[in-house]
């Protein structure tokens, strides 16, 4: 066999080996106990993998912590995590798979509102309750689905809170708004713009960029001629980091503000020193502020050898709420495995759950009554940023 035939053959063999290796079989080993799985969907690969992975690991830690309690009742709980790639199509496909698995009784997810909205239609049909640690778009809960809950704040709270801080505390009078044309980015930027206008600030520009590009000099040149006091960016860190960096290169020294999409160590990594003076609103609180949080951060570091990200604790608490609801459902069902409908009702009924980072009580739409928005500032080029303010509803 000659050389040029061997190469494609090798390629095919390697590919097949990879596929076979990837399909490791599900191990049994439940020791006669009933298995209950908690699903998890977040982007584990791709641009926002840092945030998605934090959610998964947080949920895993919560399940590990409560394994023993469930084992006593005769149940083995497991995390069944899948990668939604931050892609709505993938999210819906995964949702179908999870929904058809009868062992899966509830789900932690998603990170992206754009993925959560279509996927939750599938959950609703299958009565599979979901608790989201991070989706902030108003439409996630405003559709009034029985299965959809979230423990973080909404965009119509986050955006205006950012605007209040920008106009009242940072005294910005001329604001240039950039958004990334996604459901999340433009939703947040719209809410910000509305409130900033109401407070009397002048919006000197409102421009969109394309996700995936690296050169935003054009938009920023335009911004520079308008001489704004503050630039607001609605979007995620992959573009946000570059916008921060390129704006500083153009000589913009004023504050740059963004939403929770910038709340990641990758923002600092991409923007480097330019990140100083960047403000962000986040629905995630700084866990290292409380004793409980520090303990959590330590446990997390010990187990996964990674530092906590903003959403690690939210992944943990989202899973915690689910497990509490699940436990209640088991108790109400005389210690037998509850149905999805029972779990769904039990989770919505959770009141005053005290997690590591937030208290949780759901209202009738599935929003958390105790959700807060936090304002952060990068004073140094390192993550996490310094918490400046905490705003309750």
């Amino acid at each position: 066999m000659n050389f040029k035939k061997i190469i494609p053959l090798l390629a095919v063999v390697v590919l097949l080996l990879g596929v076979i290796g990837g399909c490791s079989s599900k191990s049994g080993g439940s020791n006669g106990k009933t298995v209950i799985e908690i699903g998890s969907q977040s982007p584990l690969s791709g641009g926002s993998a840092t945030l998605g992975d934090a959610i998964r690991l947080g949920a895993e830690l919560a399940i590990d912590d409560q394994k023993a309690a469930f084992a006593k009742k005769g149940f083995t709980i497991k995390l069944n995590y899948v990668d939604d790639q931050g892609d709505p199509k993938k999210g819906v496909a995964n949702a179908q798979i999870l929904a058809s698995d009868k062992d899966v009784l509830a789900l932690v997810g998603h990170l992206n509102s754009g993925v959560a909205i279509p996927s939750s239609e599938v959950y609703e049909k299958n009565n599979l309750p979901m608790v989201s640690p991070a989706t902030t778009a108003t439409d996630v809960t405003d559709r009034g689905l029985k299965t959809v809950n979230r423990i973080c704040a909404r965009d119509d709270f986050q955006g205006p809170a950012g605007a209040n801080y920008a106009v009242k505390t940072l005294k910005a009078k001329k604001i240039f708004v950039i958004q990334d044309k996604t459901a999340y980015g433009s939703g947040l930027a719209d809410q910000f713009r509305k409130q900033a206008k109401k407070l009397g600030a002048e919006i000197v520009g409102y421009e969109g960029i394309t996700v995936g590009e690296k050169d935003f000099n054009g938009v920023l040149s335009q911004a520079m001629t308008k001489k704004p006091d503050l630039i607001y960016f609605g979007g995620v860190y992959a573009e946000g980091g570059l916008i921060i960096k390129q704006a500083r290169q153009k000589g913009f020294n004023g504050p740059i503000m963004g939403g929770d999409g910038l709340d990641s160590s990758s923002t600092v990594q991409i923007a480097g020193d330019a990140v100083k003076g960047v403000y962000l609103t986040s629905v995630a609180g700084d866990v290292t502020k409380t004793e409980k949080g520090q303990e959590f951060a330590k446990k997390y570091k010990d187990k996964f050898d990674k530092n906590v990200e903003s959403y690690s604790a939210y992944g943990y608490d989202a899973a915690g709420v689910i497990l509490k609801g699940l436990m209640n459902a088991i108790n109400d069902n005389d210690g037998k495995k509850p149905s999805r409908e029972q779990v769904e009702k039990a989770i919505r009924a959770v009141q005053d759950y005290d997690g590591v980072t937030t208290k949780v009580s759901f209202d009738d739409k599935g929003d958390n009554k105790f959700a807060k928005v936090y304002i952060y500032n990068f004073e140094q080029a390192k993550y996490p940023p310094v918490q400046k303010a905490e705003i309750s509803q």
């Binding site: 040029k4 584990l44 520009g205 040149s221 290169q249 990758s266």
Partner: protein
Amino acid sequence: MLAHILQNLPQVLIDGLTLGVVYAVVAIGYTMVYGILELINFAHGDVFMTGAFIGAIVLFLLMGMGFLSAMPALIVFLIVIVIAAIATGMLGVGIERVAYRPLRRKNAPKLIALITSIGISFVLEDAVRFIAELKTGNYIVTAPSMFNHKFNVDVHSVIPFFNNATFQASFLLVLIVTVVMLVSLDLFVNKTKWGMAMRAVAQDRDTASLMTINVNRVISVTFFIGSALGGATGVLFMIQYGTIDPYIGFILGIKAFTAAVLGGIGNIRGAMFGGVMLGLLEMFAAANLSVITHGAMGAEYKDVFAFIILILVLIFKPEGLFGKAVVEKV
């Protein structure tokens, strides 16, 4: 309105030129291969991306060994760009050997080669993504910042209705290196024996082979040069923008291909001109579109604007701007 556009102009020219020369060099890779094989090598954008990643890896390795602090940044940069260019050049030759040559030998229709090139493009993207993700699970790679000294161009004091412009040292680097690459390529094609062989193969492959030109070797050399230039540009891109991911080659490749068509595909000088023109148009649109249209269309429509210009050019000059001016195709 005009005042605003004029004020901005120096900055727009600088930014547009940066983007434009990157497009120009990548466009050359498309145009050279097309000139010789009449094949649109869609994998070329991803060869560019692979070059950026190889450059990043070499840079991190050198940094790990402490070279970055021990040597002037310029020398480190030269080492990185040369290694990346040679590696991507080999990659280009390899792609041609494995994917295109067997098809050519069997006289497969050109469409098959085109589809193959799209396939190669996906393979490269995902292979690089897989490798980049291995360590951190995050495929966005941030290169250490080099050449970030800032320059201020005081246009305002010379011509008062312009605003001042700023650029980074990396802009000069990108500009100088690409111009050197473009000029030396032009000399290579027009003045050397290999260049003459390439032009001969482009004009008529069968006749060229009768004149004792080794056609397959000429094709390999073409792929090597095109890919090496693309890979080197990837390194420049990484240094200019600081952040790379496995999908930068897609959009950029399409735009570079457009630039090649704009200049007249198959024509090297046309590709250079087309690239610079597309970069300038795009940056101009991003900076001024909302002023021109009074806010009806924002910066997000910059690509639409650039492509409308492209379509207009092609309506009146379907062979591209330089398509007929030069008879030879390479």
